[in-house]
């Protein structure tokens, strides 16, 4: 509850800071301080210091899972701001408003991670989506950005429609939005419930860019300003996954035999399309867009498995994936040329950046000693734990092997090819934050319990 209210207030504060503060660095500092405050407040709530006690009639419940994920999201955003806040000002003139939108998105994230009622889920998803439409189109003079924004909006409203329809069908059968009362099914469920569940499944799959509802993702990620792609492909995606797993655990947990095969099919499709299409991309940014689909495929495994390991693993995965991808995007923003060739000879000119980028890429590829490896390991373990569909796990492993190809292309370009890539100016803060991110990636790869103990104590 702390973070929910504070993030909304901070959003408003950022709106006005754009009016009253003239210097860009002042605005940036307000945003960073606000973000840090948000993180602190949320951690305080985890240790029992709740500042606001508001009776939500059981529509929102801040349990450990929600709070821990919020902390991960806030920490990622804080690091993201350290890395890329300066690049946000290059996007357009409404500098402060972008921060405001980011805070509003975080407000939505706290909602989606803690909902107990489908209404709150809907509100949260919309609070996340609408600012994203704006951020996607924030580069107003760029036609690609505009196109991406419009596409995102059109397809996004389509999925919102599906979600509302699904909620309506469920309400029609159950007469309640409460997830617990929806889950009270022991005998055969009605067709209405199943249809509603499917519609919700489609719309959530859309939001996490799972195949075959992923079509918006590459275009939008490619078209949006790179700073915002970084944000929406990592933190937002992870947040929607949290909502996804929550929804299907709490509202449809008893219907597992109805949706588990569908999840498996969607997982396979997502892994396949994400990984295979990424292979042929020539632009690193677009490759990362497809890689985010591929990673979504792995995260889908947790929704499919839906056991204790899956939830732990999803937390770890969202941290591992967010940290690594934010880092890569932050470096990418500093590049002038987004193609693979643009990275040629990068290691010679920027050894530190190249080294950290390599760590991030290794983590994404799931190489041991990085967080990405353990995250993938947890996912596969969870999937094995269901005792069904062994082919799914085998397929996932094969696809993880495929992913090594396109991640290593970047490493190869950086280290083994000659070139002189032009790089924008790099500040010490940027470098240090990258190093911290890389250290986190490795640390979590060795001691995942650093993160996961928070889930239990």
């Amino acid at each position: 509850m702390n973070a929910l209210l504070l993030s909304a207030v901070l959003g408003v504060v950022m709106m006005f800071s754009g009016i009253w503060l003239k210097s860009k660095s002042a605005i940036r500092n307000v945003a960073i301080v606000g973000m840090a405050l948000l993180l602190v407040v949320n951690i305080l709530e985890m240790s029992g210091m709740i500042f606001f006690r508001i009776d939500t009639k059981g529509m929102i419940v801040f349990d450990r899972f929600a709070l821990l994920f919020d902390s991960i999201a806030f920490l990622s955003t804080l690091l993201y701001l350290f890395l890329s806040a300066q690049d946000i000002e290059k996007v357009g003139i409404n500098y402060a408003d972008y921060f405001a939108l980011i805070f509003f998105i975080l407000c939505g994230i706290t909602l989606t991670s803690s909902f107990k009622s489908l209404l709150i889920l809907f509100l949260g998803v919309e609070i996340i989506s609408i600012p994203l439409y704006i951020l996607t189109g924030s580069d107003k003079r760029n036609l690609k950005s505009n196109e991406a924004s419009l596409k995102y909006f059109l397809l996004g409203s389509f999925s919102t429609g599906l979600m509302l329809m699904g909620i309506a069908l469920i309400y029609g059968d159950k007469g309640s939005f409460d997830t617990n009362s929806i889950n009270l099914i022991t005998e055969t469920p009605s067709a209405l419930i199943v249809a509603g569940m499917l519609l919700l499944l489609f719309s959530m799959a859309f939001k996490v860019s799972a195949a075959p509802f992923h079509f918006w993702a590459p275009d939008v990620y490619d078209g949006a300003p790179t700073v915002f792609t970084s944000f929406m492909a990592t933190i937002v995606k992870a947040a929607v996954f949290i909502a996804f797993i929550r929804l299907f655990e709490e509202a449809f947990g008893n219907l597992q035999n109805k949706w588990q095969l569908l999840m498996a099919i969607i997982t396979v499709a997502t892994l396949f399309i994400g990984n295979i299409t990424a292979v042929f991309q020539q632009s690193v940014k677009r490759m990362l867009a497809y890689s985010s689909i591929a990673q979504a495929g792995f995260m889908m495994l947790s929704v499919y498995a839906m056991n204790a390991e899956a939830k732990e693993g999803l937390l770890l995965y969202s941290a591992a994936y967010s940290f690594a991808t934010i880092g890569i995007f932050a470096v990418l923003i500093k590049m002038k040329d987004y193609t693979f060739d643009g990275f040629n000879g990068f290691a010679k000119h920027q050894p530190l950046l190249a080294a950290t980028t390599t760590i991030f890429l290794l983590s994404l590829a799931g190489i041991p000693l990085t967080a990405g490896f353990l995250a993938k390991f947890y996912m596969l373990k969870a999937a094995l734990g269901t005792g069904k569909y062994l082919w799914l796990v085998i397929f996932a492993v094969i696809m993880a092997a495929v992913s090594v190809y396109y991640y290593f292309r970047v490493i190869q370009a950086m280290y083994f090819k000659e070139g002189d890539p032009p790089v924008l100016q790099i500040t010490p803060v940027f470098k240090w934050t990258l190093v911290i991110l890389a250290a986190l990636v490795i640390l979590l790869g060795i001691f995942p319990n650093l993160l996961l103990t928070w889930y239990y104590f």
């Binding site: 006005f16 009605s190 209405l192």
Partner: protein, 131 residues
């Protein structure tokens, strides 16, 4: 027909969707049928006058897709926004006494946010028509 539509909604089998399917088929079928029939039955005389868009008898002129000042849309959308928000006062007004002080503070909070938004658009210059 109505009876048919309401049975079996609570059972899981796909047969319960049969009425929906029937309805669906009839609806689309009817549309298709009517369109087909009008095209077949009606006489066709295509002149330039007839192919023109009908706009209440007034002659059309120029391109409808003229660029218009963004301010126009902005003002319009802001009006709609605030107008809609005002609607929330109606249920409050009706239940004014029942909700008591709690309700009052809640509405004050709402108005406060509302005011923040208003100040924001004013300061942003969204309502400056001249510039």
């Amino acid at each position: 027909m109505i009876h048919l539509l309401q049975t079996g909604l609570n059972s899981a089998d796909s047969g319960s969707f049969l009425p929906v399917a029937v309805q669906f088929i009839i609806a689309t079928g009817l549309v298709a049928f009517l369109m087909f029939v009008t095209h077949m039955l009606g006489p066709k005389r295509k002149t330039t006058d007839k192919l023109q868009n009908f706009s209440s008898g007034i002659e059309t002129h120029g391109d409808a897709r003229q660029p218009m000042a963004i301010k126009y849309f902005l003002t319009a959308i802001l009006f709609v926004l605030f107008d809609v928000e005002v609607i929330f006062f109606y249920p409050y007004a009706v239940n004014f006494k029942v909700l008591g002080w709690n309700g009052f503070w809640a509405v004050m909070l709402f108005v406060g946010f509302f005011l923040c938004g208003f100040i924001y658009i004013l300061k942003k210059g969204a309502l400056k028509w001249e510039e």
